[in-house]
Amino acid sequence: MNALTQYGVLFGLTLGTIGFVLCFYLLACAIGSTRREPGKDVPATAGSLSRDPVWVRYHAKYYGYALLFLAFDMEMAFMYPWAVVYREEGLTALLDMGVFLAILFLGLLYGWSQGALRRQE
């Protein structure tokens, strides 16, 4: 199979999954429908009713890690093709990527020293 056919198969798999899920839901609908009752649709919070909306700005405490993650994710995007040709390129490949990784690692160390790698209260 060439790549286009392969992606076609994967797309078909996706559609098939969605179709399977829809059939499943139809079967469940055929068995019965949901009855609306007071209090049933309030999100379950351990015995107390709480109708407050929770779609607020969430204070994520891990934003320091997330920023560094962006940098490393970009690095990994470069490393995939490098890994494939690594063996045939030999030592120069190791040294080139080694420099790149070292720079990023220094960035990690800098972030660590500045307190990025901790729970930001």
């Binding site: 019965g32 009855r35 015995g47 407050d52 909306p53 607020v56 204070h59 729970r119």
Partner: protein, 653 residues
């Protein structure tokens, strides 16, 4: 079956019903720890337990539910998907919940029979053609109409505000119409500054979701109901009287109170800030806000007088600093919205009956509010009461450690009557109390295992607790080596120290009692004053760190110590008070319950108890919840609260 689903039992429904009868999942009220104290092993009877009512199809009610929990039980039942059943043990009347589908005595055999009944009922009646909704007073809501600018104006029908003429917006509140002006359930006793939390961003998000609708009025109404809940939090009690509030987008809207703009829902800001900004970058509000403003307020942008216009940017720019001016800041200086989340009374990792409300800043706890729904206020049920009644009543008030409270009542009665017991009975009583201490600490370990996600700890501790509870002294001695191995392995569990050390640190002070106090280094144990204990060779165990790990190790050590004490005594006896006759007098007694020292003082008159006053350790520990949880991440906060071993039943008001 009252909780059946609407439908007729055709082939599909029959298969589903048969599957459901084999796949029972229960939600236990008030909690699995109560079941274990009574000797019931829920897992053994074939019932899986669920952490949330949404995944359960059987509501298991253990024992008589106190009035404070009935409303919460109604809420939990209402949130279970149909078909659902109720199983009660040891009680029959649980109104306002519907009549139970299966009931039985409070024993393991009763449970198994009731479960068999429930399976039959599911298989036969899971789908019924006529079902009624489940209604209860706590679940009722009614729509009120209120003015966005004047929250005190509330009417039951749509109309206009008598003060400013604006159209009233809908709001959903708890309580039925017949109860009169019901308190909107979002109002809470919190600091005033928290009430002026900005609602702008929250509104806009919900508006963004609704702005796809074409109908302007409908949009406004849903915005209204969406943001009014937040608006109601803005208590009109700002102290800067002459300050007026205006909307950054609509300068014609001026109000004396902080709140939300009735036209667009944005947080009103003091007049001084709104006027002096040029440029405009609604990055926080984004597209939704602009869509909304173009749809609904075409004329609204005309009135921006007095501010400089920058090319291509709208007037009345509000920076994030201004928007978040009144918000409370977290420890790192960021101002993000906080949400109020209830964690009780039936939260799986916490003791049942503890109503905990946490204000969460992200996933950290900002403020806590803890209360017990099952506390007792009066140790005397009837005045005057006979000694047997009094002892039984006091034991029933504390289902998690009834024997310690029985002993407390017996000792106080005997002291009031001026009697004392024979030494061998005193030693047998000691063994019973120590056996209960072992069981209670094992029960705490099981709850800890459930809360921290280690099902191995939970199962083994629960199994040991059930074995120890009714055991004779010789059985206890046989259990000792296995229990010691378990405790040793438990303390060597990998990641346990990582999970617990440093959490819930409490310095030694007088409000602490029991293992919590001893784990903080205080050598406070009322057993050291007792000659019977001294005879057997009792010494107080303490730890130094005062954090959750120290408390766990302390309780494990106390288990081992109690097992040694029981072996030294060699026999256990049922606790009965000596016959008092017609004595009168006052008596006081102190007993070291598994959670701390409990003190009882009572007055006898002609052999009947006419006055009693009790102090329990848990009442003081409730106040520590704030110290332990605030500022911590949610999981750590719950671990800390759990490590205090709070029994909400023992809280006296």
């Amino acid at each position: 079956m009252r909780g059946a689903r609407h439908g007729t039992m055709n082939a599909l429904q029959r298969i589903a019903a048969a599957a459901m009868s084999r796949d029972l999942c229960g939600f236990v009220v008030p909690g699995a720890e109560i079941a274990r104290t009574v000797g019931i092993d829920l897992g053994d009877a074939g019932l899986r337990l669920s952490a949330t009512p949404r995944h359960a199809n059987v509501l298991v009610v253990i024992g008589r539910l106190p009035a404070g929990l009935l409303d919460a039980a109604c809420v939990v039942y209402a949130q279970m998907p149909r078909p659902r059943a109720i199983l009660t043990l040891g009680t029959n009347d649980i109104s306002p919940l519907p009549v139970p589908d299966a009931t039985g005595p409070l024993t393991q055999a009763g449970l198994e029979a009731a479960i068999a009944d429930i399976r039959r009922i599911f298989a036969m009646a899971a789908f019924q053609p006529d079902v009624e909704n489940f209604e209860a007073p706590t679940l009722e809501t009614s729509t009120e109409y209120t003015c966005p600018m004047h929250p005190e104006v509330v009417q039951e029908a749509p109309g206009n505000c008598p003060k400013c003429g604006m159209t009233l917006v809908e709001r959903e509140t708890a309580g039925s119409v017949h109860r009169g002006h019901a308190v909107p359930e979002q109002k809470r006793e919190v600091a005033a500054q928290k009430h002026s939390k900005p609602v702008a961003v929250c509104h806009d998000r919900s508006k963004g979701g609704h702005s796809a609708d074409g109908d302007n009025h409908e949009q406004h109404k849903t915005h209204g109901s969406g943001h009014k809940q937040h608006h109601m939090r803005a208590k009109p009690d700002n102290t800067e009287a002459p300050l007026q509030y205006t909307c950054p987008m609509h300068p014609e809207v001026v109000s004396d109170e902080a709140g939300s703009c009735p036209k667009c829902g944005m947080h009103l800001v003091p007049v001084a800030e709104a006027g002096g900004h040029s440029g405009h970058d609604h990055k926080a509000h984004g597209k939704a806000h602009d869509e909304h403003s173009t749809d609904n307020h075409r004329g609204g942008h005309g009135g921006h007088g007095g501010s400089e216009r920058v090319e291509g940017v709208e007037a009345h720019f509000m920076s994030m600093v201004d928007l978040t001016r009144d918000m409370p800041a977290s420890a790192d200086g960021l101002k993000m919205e906080w949400i109020d989340v209830p964690f009780g009374p039936f939260f799986p990792g916490l003791p049942g009956g503890l109503q905990l409300k946490l204000t969460l800043d992200g996933d950290a706890v900002a403020t806590t509010s803890a209360d017990s729904l099952v506390g007792s206020s009066d140790p005397l049920r009837a005045n005057p009461s006979s000694p047997i009644e009094f002892v039984d009543h006091l034991a029933a008030l504390s289902p998690l450690s009834p024997i310690a409270y029985r002993l407390l009542a017996c000792l106080a009665l005997e002291q009031a009557a001026g009697q004392s017991v024979a030494p061998d009975i005193a030693r047998a009583r000691l063994a019973v109390v120590e056996r209960e201490r072992v069981a209670s600490h094992l029960g705490w370990l099981a709850v800890f295992g459930a809360q921290s996600g280690s099902s191995w700890i939970e199962k083994r501790a629960a199994a040991f607790q059930l074995k120890v509870q009714g055991a004779a002294a010789t059985d206890v001695t046989t259990l000792k080596p296995k229990l010691s191995t378990f405790l040793a392995k438990l303390q060597r569990t990998p990641l346990l120290a990582a999970r617990l050390s440093g959490i819930g640190q409490l310095p030694a002070n007088d409000t602490l009692s029991g293992p919590v106090a001893r784990a903080s280094g205080m050598a406070s144990d009322t057993r050291s004053d007792d000659p019977v204990y001294a005879e057997i060779g009792f010494s107080v165990l303490t730890m130094t760190d005062g954090d959750a790990l120290a408390r766990l190790v302390q309780r494990c050590n106390e288990i081992t110590q109690s097992l040694d004490l029981i072996s030294a005594v060699g026999s256990v006896a049922r606790l009965e008070p000596h016959s008092i006759g017609a004595a009168s007098g006052t008596g006081e007694a102190v007993v070291e319950t598994p959670r701390g020292a409990a003190r009882l003082s009572l007055t006898l008159h002609k052999g009947k108890v006419i006055a009693a006053d009790i102090k329990t350790p848990t009442t003081a520990h409730l106040t520590l919840i704030g110290d332990v949880a605030e500022g911590q991440e949610l999981g750590d906060a719950l671990t800390g609260i759990g490590s205090l071993d709070i029994s909400p039943w023992e809280v006296t008001s």
